[in-house]
């Protein structure tokens, strides 16, 4: 195979874009894990649900896909908040010190319910929104326009999230809880309120990633749990609550995924990424929460 510059550029753009989108979802999962101590296996299902919803809305109303970015994340913010209020909060308060293991059980159960109901409602087939943008021509290279735009907006979203965490009082409170839960409580930080907010933000981020996914790739009912695992790889590599670290590890995973797909075929990118997941866990045997 000759190294065609267009091909290399495409692999890089595709890999970085995939990584950026995965990082968005992973940051949501990581904030929830850090602040509430709950490992939300449902997280990938949020993404699939958002993608499917985007597809259905687009199919029904034929709206410009950009409007989806305005509708879906707030909707998932609300879904996240209500899930936290109804199921997660009682679970956390019952299992005071160790919600991690029971939360895996409960959210895994929820993920199965959503997957099954979704399969029943729309079938377990790949769904994507077709877009028609002319490719950008630059010095003889053809660059896919929607991907470039998405790349730009994904990076913007990640940066604004970073700004929120570092430069707002709510963001600082969330980081304080991640660092030292009891200390944060002693400082008068309202942990239940921040937990609810962060759960909402986490779901909204998964929703946002889901919109991107439905536009650039396809979503499928049965891929939710795998997506959660991919998000966990990024957290394991990047560190809980570490936005830039998660973005960088997202780009590593995204490029790996794209390169394997190119060299060995699409069927092999999943096992390689899963192997990476197991390796990432083994590399941090005390769990991703340890620094």
């Amino acid at each position: 195979m000759t190294l065609d510059p267009t091909l290399i550029l495409e692999v890089i753009i595709n890999g970085v874009l995939l990584g950026g989108i995965l990082a968005l979802a992973a940051i949501g999962l990581s904030l929830v894990l850090g602040v509430t101590g709950v490992l939300n296996i449902m997280h990938g299902q949020f993404l699939v649900l958002a993608g499917t919803l985007s597809y259905l809305i687009h199919l029904a109303l034929k709206l410009n896909p950009i409007i989806l970015f305005i509708i879906i994340p707030p909707l998932f913010f609300l879904i996240g908040i209500s899930l936290e209020r109804s199921l997660i909060r009682p679970l956390v308060s019952r299992t005071q010190s160790t919600p991690l293991l029971p939360s895996i059980l409960v959210t895994f159960g929820l993920a199965l319910i959503v997957q099954d109901v979704l399969t029943f409602a729309v079938g377990d087939v790949a769904k994507g929104i077709p877009t028609h943008f002319p490719p950008l021509k630059f010095q003889g290279l053809q660059l896919p326009m929607p991907k470039l735009l998405s790349l730009f907006s994904v990076l913007t979203a990640t940066l604004s999230l970073w700004f929120f965490l570092v430069h707002t009082s709510t963001g600082n409170a969330a980081r304080a809880i991640i660092q030292d839960r009891e200390g944060a409580m002693l400082c008068g930080i309202d942990i239940p309120r921040i937990s609810m907010l962060i759960f909402g933000i986490g779901a909204a981020l998964a929703g946002l990633a889901g919109v991107y996914y439905s536009i650039i790739y396809t979503v499928q009912a049965s891929m939710g749990i795998t997506l959660t695992m991919i998000a966990l790889i990024l957290i394991a590599l990047g560190g809980v609550g570490n936005i830039l670290g998660t973005l960088v590890s997202g780009i590593i995973v995204g490029v790996t995924h794209t390169v394997v797909e190119l060299l060995l075929g699409a069927a092999w990118s999943l096992p390689v990424v899963l192997l990476l997941f197991i390796a990432a866990l083994l590399a941090r045997p005390r769990g991703v929460l340890s620094e």
Binding site: L105, G109, A267
Partner: protein, 315 residues
């Protein structure tokens, strides 16, 4: 050490049950036989899962890795003209060896990440099995040449494993291994500081659990006369043993039996109504157990325990 002995009266019900099940295997209709086979298979699997899940408190979400390893091993060996019993024992042995090797990697992780790593492992194995079509038949699966008396082998094999699994659960509970496991479940660091070697006991239970799963995988391959990634690594067979053990009462001796019976009956009723929502049923049980009854049906003192007449500390 207090080793409770088994009273004769406690054996009456199990013996009657086993005799009844044996005669069904001889005289039952094909429908009843296959339903009971599935039930017995899941009793055996839930018991084996619970050796690690209930006694050690390590949630193995990739249990079907061993079932599938056993099933595929059996199919490949039988394809190469090895006898049924030879292929079956090698299937069990392979699963036990894999469990032994994996315990070195997996037990370096804490409980939460053990659960995730095992889930990742089975998803990984399923996709590899799908991809390596030359060896495994890929998504087409691998047919097994007809074995004379296959239902007989599978039915009584499953019955023996279900009884043996329950017996092992009982035996282990009242042994040094069981007490060590209990102390590891309660507080691993404290147990280690008092001279219990956590890794040794965790690995032992993991190997026994894997061995049972491998044998059962071989029997399932005999019963269904083909192996397929979805059947042997899919979400159903991965999750059912977990759901059953947790629902019945993880860490109790009869909990997995009760859980398996409940789930199989519910599943069968649901199947008569609709082909959908079977995963959702399992999911709902996980949510309900996780939120409202962390100790399962048998774990609530004074509820089912009293109705069934099982005294405390024995079940």
């Amino acid at each position: 050490m207090n080793r409770p002995s088994v009273k004769c009266s406690q054996l009456i019900l199990p013996v009657i049950l086993v005799l009844l099940l044996s005669s069904i295997g001889y005289a039952g209709s094909p429908y009843i036989k296959s339903l009971i086979f599935v039930l017995l298979m899941y009793v055996a699997l839930a018991q084996a899962w619970d050796l690690v899940g209930g006694y050690l408190g390590y949630l193995n979400l990739g249990f079907s890795f061993f079932i599938g390893a056993g099933g595929y091993m059996f199919a490949l060996l039988h394809k190469n003209h090895l006898g049924v019993l030879g292929a079956l024992s090698l299937a069990g042995a392979l699963a036990a060896i894999l469990a032994g090797l994996l315990s070195f990697l997996l037990f370096r992780l804490n409980r939460a990440y053990f659960a995730l790593a095992t889930l990742g492992l089975v998803l990984f194995t399923e996709s590899i099995t799908n991809n390596l079509a030359i060896i495994t038949g890929g998504q087409e699966g691998l047919p097994i040449e007809p074995i004379p008396g296959s239902t007989f082998y599978a039915y009584y094999g499953a019955l023996s494993l279900a009884v043996l699994g329950t017996y092992v659960k009982f035996k282990v509970r009242n042994s040094t291994l069981g007490l060590a496991a209990l102390s590891i479940k309660d507080d691993e660091e404290a147990a280690a500081s008092l001279g219990v070697n956590p890794f040794k006991y965790k690995a032992q239970l993991f190997v026994v659990s894997g061995f049972f799963a491998g044998l059962m995988g071989g029997l399932l391959a005999i019963f269904s006369s083909y192996v397929h990634p979805e059947v042997f690594f899919g979400p159903r067979i991965t999750l059912l043993p977990v759901v059953m053990a947790l629902l019945g009462g993880s860490g109790t001796i009869y909990g997995p039996v009760l859980g398996a019976t409940t789930v199989i009956l519910l599943d069968e009723v649901l199947l008569n109504m609709t082909p959908y929502f079977h995963l959702a049923l399992l999911g709902s049980i996980l949510v309900v157990v996780g939120l409202f009854m962390p100790k399962g049906l048998l774990g609530r003192p004074g509820s089912l325990r009293r109705i069934l007449g099982i005294p405390h500390g024995t079940a």
